[in-house]
């Protein structure tokens, strides 16, 4: 069953709040971050971003392919920049 955009946005909204809350709770209760928590936090952030990109930034008209092309190209270059800047230290 395909959910309507309205329902999906409500779900997305609550998911995002929950995930932020979980991330907050984990950090507050565990303190210094071990590797698994780091990965966990990043995954939670990526899921939230994906919810925004897919359910909230949902534009039905126009050329939708360019959305993903632009975002992935931007991320590629941003990722390279971050990688090499971090290697400096």
């Amino acid at each position: 069953m395909k959910l309507s955009l309205n329902v999906r946005q409500w779900i997305g909204f609550f998911l995002m709040l929950t995930f932020s809350g979980i991330a907050f709770y984990l950090v507050m209760s565990i303190g210094t971050i071990p590797l698994w928590l780091l990965i966990m936090l990043l995954i939670l952030a990526v899921i939230q971003a994906t919810i925004q990109l897919v359910w909230f930034m949902d534009i039905q008209q126009g050329r939708r392919g360019y959305k993903w092309v632009t975002i992935s190209s931007g991320l590629l270059i941003a990722g390279l920049a971050i990688l090499y800047l971090m290697l400096l230290e």
Binding site: R63, A81, Y84, L85, L88
Partner: protein, 648 residues
């Protein structure tokens, strides 16, 4: 003699006085000219315009004005370097660094880029069958932001000194600890403002090319110049934000006392990374449109279809992609480790493959053709061997251990001038000669054009070929002099002679424009070169809506096909109907002006200028938000020259 200007002491020495005098005299001359020939109205129409071809003309003329300025800098540089331990005027030490920096910065950001963007403005909408760019207001705004940025960098010379740290502006040298004069502030603000304009242009062209093509103009039917514009716009889109961040850090470090780029507190290499993440794609931003121009010109004057159209397109896209993956080759000597260096050496070399494909495809386009040697074609033919020299030295520079020898020597100076002058500048001239009749309705004189070409090409080789040898003889770049015992005198003298020859060649070009304006026959018709693409189907100069009826396109080289097989007529894709055109407005110019005032306020640290600039920009943008629905409904009439639709 000296005076204070917003806290900056300005010493009136001979070169500064000459600067003021020339600004003053040129201002007077402009006012007299405009009044005498009653051109104020025409100027005002250009200021208010948002139409792509007029904005293109604005870009081209501003670009050429900056070309003359940056060329003058080049002649000063060459005069100073003509002889060992020469003392030409005042241009040693800091003053030489000012000339060298303005030459590089202006040539790249305010000559090559605007001339290329100007040609894009002129040709791209016509080539894809569009009435205008997607966002005409934004297009005009881009131009005025570019002009504001260029003006900032150029006036700095008479307001306390130009930037001095080279066009790459490496920190810590560019921080106020080592260059306390305002010059580098002008650099950071000027490039920032014009960078915003360039970014907006890129978005504009991307949307235009993707959304505004005429029916049937599939991506793989677009002329190569339009393809190059598409790829270039993508490069601009993703490269310029890195420069924006770098300039932001530089500005905060210089003006607000932070220490992010300082060697002790922060990290100086952040600048190099960010700058080259932008800087290497920038090189391709300059050369790809030139590739596009050459493809279009060569096919026209060899009267032949482009050899290997699809591989040409793939090569363009590949070069664009790889352009982002090679920036470390500017930093081989920094010491980032052998793995980094080796990876980036290989990625750099791999760019030679798509470039090679392009070169051979051009050669095989010529093969079997019927070549006429008009001026645009001469510039395109001159490009091939010249650029190949620049290309092979580029591969040589990619071999890391050998690059330890070439790096920052005159070998590199020779290399990038072969690429930029032998590629971009020749491409710009080819494009200007090629599209001139479309823009103005008359041709540039071919005989003078050929003189221009030969003097320019010979001067170019005499100037830049010796530089490779100077590099191999141990001459570092950006030095204002050398010693007699270095054995560099003959080479430098030859180079200087060549530079002045190129200067003379530019005078021939200006003379050509004047002569052609006076004497060339008008009414060249819509297709003076027997062209292949659809910009040659409409009258020259085109009406403001370009196409009364949009054509329907069934192949690449649609116009050529139509001439061969359809009695020289293209099918129309629509009936004549009123066309929505944008309104003229002076708001873009005013936003540019307020940006200039605001940035100037930041440089001289005067709060009320900053406030005026900020409020002005925001106010105008708010105003525009309430006026952006205005359109001009133009009812077109078909022109007798129009080649779209059946015979009327």
């Amino acid at each position: 003699m000296s005076f204070y200007f917003f806290g900056e002491k300005i010493r009136l020495v001979s070169d500064i006085i000459a600067g003021y005098l020339s600004i003053f005299l040129m201002g007077i001359a402009a006012v007299v000219f405009l009044t005498y020939y009653k051109k104020w109205g025409a100027l005002w129409r250009y200021v208010k315009t948002t139409h792509h071809s007029k904005v293109g003309i604005l870009y081209l003329s501003a670009g050429f004005a900056f070309f003359l300025r940056a060329g003058l800098d080049a002649l000063i540089i060459r005069a100073q370097l003509a002889l060992p331990q020469n003392e030409f005027w005042v241009f040693q030490g800091d003053k030489y660094n000012q000339m060298m920096t303005t030459h590089g910065t202006t040539m790249i950001f305010f000559v090559a880029m605007p001339l290329i963007i100007g040609l894009m403005n002129v040709a791209v909408p016509l080539q894809i069958g569009a009435r205008d760019l997607a966002f005409p207001f934004l297009n005009a705004l881009s131009f005025w932001l570019f002009l504001a940025g260029g003006a900032l960098i150029n006036i700095s010379f008479v307001l306390g000194g130009s930037p001095t740290a080279g066009w790459t502006s490496y920190v810590p040298l560019a921080l106020d600890e080592f260059t306390p004069a305002t010059g580098n502030d002008y650099y950071s603000l000027g490039l920032q403002v014009s960078g915003i304009g360039t970014l907006l242009t890129a978005i504009n062209f991307l949307v235009t090319i993707i959304n505004k093509r005429t029916p049937g103009m599939k991506l793989m039917r677009m002329p190569l110049f339009t393809w190059a514009t598409l790829v270039t716009s993508i490069l601009i889109l993703f490269a310029f934000p890195a420069l924006t961040v770098a300039l932001l850090l530089l500005m905060f470090d210089r003006l607000y006392g932070t220490g992010m780029l300082a060697a002790d507190a922060g990290n100086s290499l952040i600048w190099q990374h960010l700058f080259w993440i932008f800087g290497h794609p920038e090189v391709y931003i300059l050369i790809l449109p030139a590739f596009g121009i050459f493809s279009d010109v060569i096919t026209t004057f060899a009267k032949k279809r482009l050899f290997g159209y699809s591989s040409m397109v793939i090569a363009l896209v590949l070069i664009g992609f790889l352009g982002f993956m090679v920036w470390i080759h500017h930093m081989f000597t920094v010491g980032l480790g052998p793995t980094s260096n080796a990876i980036f050496a290989i990625s750099t070399m791999s760019i030679a493959v798509p470039t090679g494909i392009k070169i051979f495809n051009w050669l095989f386009t010529i093969r079997g053709g019927v070549i006429t040697f008009n001026t645009p074609m001469l510039f395109s033919l001159g490009f091939i061997p010249s650029f190949v020299i620049g290309g092979v030295t580029g591969v040589m520079l990619a071999t890391v251990p050998a690059d330890y020898q070439y790096h920052d020597s005159y070998f590199v100076v020779g290399h990038f001038h072969y690429v930029i002058v032998g590629g971009t500048i020749l491409g710009i001239f080819a494009g200007v000669y090629y599209w001139w009749p479309k823009l103005f309705g008359f041709m540039l004189n071919d005989v003078l054009g050929k003189w221009h070409f030969w003097t320019f090409l010979i001067g170019f080789h005499i100037t830049f070929f010796p530089m490779h040898i100077m590099g191999l003889k141990g001459m570092p770049r950006r030095v204002f002099t050398y010693l007699p015992e270095d054995g560099l005198t003959g080479l430098n003298l030859a180079s200087t002679v060549g530079a002045f020859m190129m200067g003379g060649s530019m005078m021939i070009f200006l003379w050509n424009i004047y002569q052609s304006y006076r004497h060339s026959p008008r009414e060249v018709g819509n297709d003076p070169w027997d062209g292949r693409t659809i910009e040659w189907t409409i009258p020259s100069p085109p009406p403001e809506y370009n196409f009364a009826r949009l054509p329907k396109v069934y192949s690449s080289d649609a116009w050529w096909q139509a001439k061969k097989y359809q009695n020289g007529r293209l099918e129309a894709a629509e009936e004549l109907s009123p066309i929505r055109m944008p309104l003229d407005t002076a708001k873009p110019m005013l936003i540019g002006m307020f940006m200039l005032i605001g940035s100037f306020g930041i440089i001289v640290e005067v709060w009320y200028f900053q406030l005026v600039g900020l409020l002005g920009v925001i106010g105008l943008m708010v105003l525009h938000s309430f006026q952006d629905s205005g359109r001009k409904m133009v009812t077109p009439k078909t022109h007798p020259d129009e080649k779209i639709g059946g015979e009327e």
